[in-house]
């Protein structure tokens, strides 16, 4: 099956999950996107995008025990599935193909 098409935000989400690894909880994901990718995202958008990625089998999550700061409610720990890795890989390769030959045009001006 051909790898699924990933929108830009979806790529960012999967990459953030991979970066955060064992710390890939919802709150941390939002913070990671904000600080590293410079994207302020509404929580509605965030969670529905995560749901969508889950529907496409590109990530999965498991519940972990909660803390008092969250009223005792559980947390989700996200991880990227092999299909998700494949999709990321495909996106990266496509972009690389598009970038090829344009280094001159896109390089930072030195002066």
């Amino acid at each position: 099956m051909a790898p699924a098409y990933l929108g830009e935000f979806e790529q960012l989400l999967l990459l953030a999950i991979l970066r955060l690894d064992a710390n890939a909880y919802g709150v941390e994901l939002a913070r990671e996107l904000e600080t590293r990718a410079g994207r302020t995202v509404s929580r509605g958008h965030l969670y529905t995008s995560l749901d969508r990625l889950e529907d496409k089998d590109l990530l999965r999550w498991k519940p972990t025990p909660g803390t008092p700061e969250r009223g005792g409610l559980p947390r989700r720990l996200y991880s990227v599935t092999p299909a998700g890795i494949g999709a990321l890989r495909a996106s990266r390769d496509t972009l690389r193909r598009m970038w090829r030959g344009l280094e001159d045009v896109l390089k930072e001006p030195t002066s």
């Binding site: 051909a2 790898p3 699924a4 098409y5 909880y25 919802g26 709150v27 939002a30 509404s42 929580r43 509605g44 958008h45 969670y47 529905t48 749901d51 969508r52 889950e54 529907d55 496409k56 999550w61 519940p63 909660g66 803390t67 008092p68 700061e69 969250r70 009223g71 409610l73 559980p74 947390r75 989700r76 495909a90 996106s91 496509t94």
Partner: protein, 917 residues
């Protein structure tokens, strides 16, 4: 970290919207955690949160954040609540996926439209105009033609009138009606009624009321009962029965202060005391044939059913029959039965009923028959306009699809399926169609209000016209259809992008060529439709010009008219003569008045008294072929006041008196018809049947004296501008003093400025006489052609919009063609072609589309000419001069639309053009 509780209401909303169980709890927990973290960070003065410090400020800030996020999450999740505690099953998940995709497409569409505001504005405007105009016209058609009458079971109501030997419709005679009623089995109830303008006196201000005189079974036939009191009964029809009246709800509230003890009160109508016996329910409206506004009250037949006027079988006094069909009968079978009865009556009463037949129709059809052709033609015209708007939008969408091919190709290369892309474009085009439709509803509401204001007073059922659910449904369907049908074209075209090819920018991509051909084809269609609308507008303009140039036969400027009714019993014929004499001498004394007169019937408004007649010196024709003329009692000075020319003999003067020999003045048409080639002066004619006595044989019996022709006057368009001049006979008022007359006053100054003085002159003579229908003759003239004028205005507006849309579309296509051919143009110019050559090339290409469209449009207009003919006057639907002018206009505008991009093409720099690859 000190913990607290976030706003409970927001949390409650989240719990309701989020999935049950662990999936929802985790999300809620995240929000609570962040709320706490922000509150604490605020308190600590963390640099990432600016603004107010302090515990309250921190709490307020994080509360605001929490509410905001909560609402956004609720908005996303609310509609797809899941009740499972585990990740969803496949079916629900795929629904969620496609809904997500749809929302994504929607957001993408909104963003992309927002990025090109001028394109979006043009499309929205085009759609709003097209959908708005068609919804407005549809509302009129719906309210007037399609909606059933607001009466119970309106399809079972039948209208019937009689016809004279020539086949013209006339009203029903009372004795004939009584026989119908007894003999006909097709009706549960057969009622008779007519409109009467009556004078309501007794209070400080006399006023005219719109009354309908009805038989006792009328409300039973309509199946509507009074809300208060009782309906009329057959007993109220009996000759000499006590006069009774039923008022409408509006009249009861407006004039009688909604007095609950209104029953038994008296009203003085036309000088006769009527007792109020009922009040009709709110919302009831008697079908209107004559009055421009709803009726005020209903009066019984009792006061008139025994009068010689009504009991004479040969008199047709303006009544019409409305009947409710009995079960098992249809309009057709009822009509057949009445025809049979009429034939029998012809045998039984040959003197009065020869050649008199019956005509029946569904009541609803009868009400709107005059206006149906106009409305349907307007519906066709607005349909053309909507089609043009859609074609224009399709053109724009295709052009946009063509310019987005690169973007779409990239998406295709990145793996977006063809169906997905087509979906995207379809959603986008439906989105903008619905938005345009919503704007169109606003346009329609404004346009409809204007149309209702402009509509002639006499437009039937205009009060039933409104922007209701049906009209909104029409607008919705129209918008959705536009979006789907005309958006699908570009969608499926663009989605068939062959990835690699389109990635290479350049000319001769097969896709671009195909879309250009499609646009040209659509443009030809647009041009054809625009030409058809232009032709319609041109013909309507010619019609109106013809109408305004008809010689009416009178001088209409500076002429004031108004009606009075001397209904009171004290106005005997002798007293009426005195009254009119006093009235006229006082009127003529008013400063600013040049002349004044009175007449029974006002020109153009129509004759109020038509009668057959015989002439003394010619053989009497058979009864069915007796001539009929408009008989009009007029005062001395009438012809001078109206500007009617004397052709032979003399006008009425002091020679005429009640006791002098009876005289008559006739019009040229009558003279030519009855005495061709002879001098009619001195000839004699007599109203009525050949056997009608010429002197009273017994008191109260009907008789008609022989009258000597003393003068021939010029023709007047008595029955309206578009109808042919009738035979006219004028009688001296002193010998035939009618009760209800129109005053005509020729003024030296603005007629409107003298109204108050004229009212006071009448009031001085009789304070209980209300004036009615006070207007200038010019206004009467305008009102008579109001329908054609409104139709013309609508057609012209449609045609201008259509021409604008078509020329803008043509400009767009030609300009696009120039852009596509920039390289070719550069080559040509580099090879030595001059500006004129390039100009000619571009213009020829553009005009070829316009010419093809024009030819198709002319063919279409000629094919449909039959439908518009009934709206025209003085010009045929295939009038060559109009078509030539319209074609010339269209081609001129088209040339301009092509010329601008062509002129720009000549300024192409060959070197730049050659480089553009």
């Amino acid at each position: 970290m000190k913990t607290g509780d976030p706003p409970r209401l927001a949390t409650w909303m989240l719990r309701r919207a989020l999935p049950r169980g662990v999936p929802g709890d985790t999300i809620l927990g995240d929000l609570i955690e962040e709320w706490n973290a922000r509150r604490v960070a605020r308190l600590k003065g963390s640099p990432s949160f600016r603004g107010i410090s302090g515990a309250t400020g921190a709490r307020g800030f994080s509360t605001f954040w929490y509410w905001r996020q909560a609402l956004l999450v609720v908005a996303r999740y609310a509609w797809r609540r899941e009740r499972s505690t585990e990740p969803a099953a496949t079916g629900a998940r795929s629904i969620r996926m496609s809904t997500d995709n749809f929302l994504q497409d929607l957001r993408y569409g909104v963003r992309s439209y927002a990025k090109s505001p001028s394109f979006t504005a043009v499309v929205l405007t085009t759609l709003a105009l097209g959908i708005g105009a068609s919804t407005a016209i549809f509302s009129m058609v719906n309210g007037i033609l399609l909606q059933p009458l607001p009466l119970p079971d309106p399809d079972r109501l039948v209208y019937a009138n009689e016809t004279n030997p020539k086949g013209d419709s006339i009203s029903v005679s009372w004795p004939n009606y009584l026989d119908w009623r007894v003999r006909a089995k097709s009706f549960d109830a057969l009622a008779l009624s007519r409109d009467e303008a009556m004078a309501l006196t007794g209070s400080d201000r006399p006023q005219r009321v719109r009354a309908r005189r009805v038989t006792g079974n009328t409300f039973a036939a309509l199946r509507v009962a009074p809300a208060i009191g009782r309906a009329f009964t057959d007993a109220d029809d009996a000759p000499g029965a006590a006069p009774v009246v039923i008022v409408t709800d509006a009249f009861w509230r407006g004039q009688l202060s909604a007095d609950p003890r209104v029953l038994g009160q008296n009203m003085r109508l036309d000088g006769v005391q009527h007792t109020i016996v009922g009040v009709m329910p709110n919302g009831f409206e008697f079908p209107r044939f004559f009055f421009p506004r709803p009726h005020d009250l209903f009066v019984s037949m009792g006061p008139v059913s025994g009068t010689p006027n009504l009991t004479d079988r040969g008199n047709h006094n303006g009544y019409a029959a409305i009947g409710r069909l009995a079960p098992g009968f249809s309009v057709e079978s009822a009509g057949e039965e009445l025809k049979t009865i009429a034939a029998a009556l012809e045998h039984e009463y040959p003197n009065s009923n020869s050649g008199v037949r019956v005509r029946t129709a569904r009541l609803a059809d009868q009400l709107v028959s005059a206006i149906r052709p106009t409305l349907l033609t307007l519906l066709g015209a607005v349909g053309c306009l909507l089609l043009i708007a859609c074609v224009n939008v399709a053109n724009l969408l295709i052009a946009r699809g063509a310019s987005r091919q690169h973007e779409l190709a990239v998406r295709a290369a990145l793996g977006g399926g063809r169906l997905r892309l087509a979906n995207q474009l379809l959603v986008e085009s439906t989105l903008i169609s619905l938005a345009g439709g919503a704007l169109g509803v606003a346009v329609a509401s404004w346009l409809l209000r204007m149309l209702i204001t402009m509509a002639p007073d006499a437009t039937p059922r205009i009060t039933d016209v409104r922007l209701d659910g049906t009209a909104l449904l029409f607008a919705l369907v129209a918008s959705a259809t536009c979006g789907v049908v005309f958006g699908a074209l570009p969608a499926f075209q663009a989605s068939g992008v062959g990835g690699q090819h389109a990635l290479v920018r350049g000319r001769a991509a097969g896709f671009a060529a195909r879309s250009h051909r499609l646009r040209r084809g659509l443009l030809v269609v647009e041009t054809a439709l625009a030409l058809m609308l232009l032709a319609g507008a041109g013909l309507m303009m010619r019609t109106l010009r013809q109408l305004t140039h008809v010689d009416v036969g009178i001088r209409t400027e500076h002429l004031l008219t108004t009606r009075i009714q001397l209904a009171d019993e004290r106005y005997t014929p002798a007293r009426r003569v005195t009254f009119y004499g006093d009235l006229l001498s006082r009127l003529r004394a008013v400063p600013g008045v040049s002349n004044a007169a009175v007449t029974l019937s006002l020109p153009i408004d129509g004759s109020n008294w038509n009668s057959i007649f015989t002439v003394a010196d010619k053989p009497v024709p058979e009864r069915a072929k007796l001539p009929s003329a408009a008989f009009t009692p007029v005062s001395t000075g009438y012809f001078e006041t109206m500007g009617i020319r004397l052709v032979r003999g003399r006008l009425f003067d002091a020679t005429e008196s009640p006791d002098s020999p009876k005289t008559v003045a006739i019009n040229e048409t009558l003279a030519r018809r009855l005495w061709p080639g002879e001098d009619p002066i001195g000839k004699r004619l007599k109203q009525g049947w050949p056997e009608t006595p010429d002197h009273p044989t017994k008191p109260g019996a009907y008789f008609a004296p022989w009258r000597e022709v003393v003068g021939v006057v010029s023709d007047v368009k008595m029955n309206g501008i578009t109808s042919e001049t009738p035979l006219q006979a004028y009688l001296p008022l002193v010998q035939e003093p009618a009760r209800g007359l129109a005053m005509v006053i020729r003024t030296a100054v603005d007629p409107a400025s003298l109204v108050a003085q004229i009212e006071s002159v009448v009031r001085d003579l009789d304070k209980d006489l209300p004036l009615a229908q006070t207007r200038t003759m010019d206004q009467v003239l305008d009102a008579s052609i109001a329908r054609q004028r409104v139709s013309m205005i609508i057609f012209v507006v449609f045609a201008i919009v259509a021409l604008t849309l078509a020329s803008v579309g043509l400009y767009g296509v030609v300009a696009h063609g120039v852009t596509e051919r920039t390289h070719e143009i550069g080559v040509r110019m580099a090879l030595g072609a001059d500006a004129r050559h390039v100009l000619g090339l571009v213009v020829r290409q553009g005009l070829s589309m316009a010419v093809v469209g024009t030819v198709i449009g002319v063919a279409g207009a000629l094919a449909l000419s039959r439908w518009i003919q009934s709206l025209l006057f003085g010009v045929t639907a295939t009038d060559p001069a109009t078509f030539v002018a319209v074609v010339a206009t269209l081609l001129a505008v088209a040339t301009l639309a092509c010329g601008i991009p062509a002129w720009r093409a000549t300024h192409v720099d060959p070197t730049t053009a050659l480089r553009a690859e």
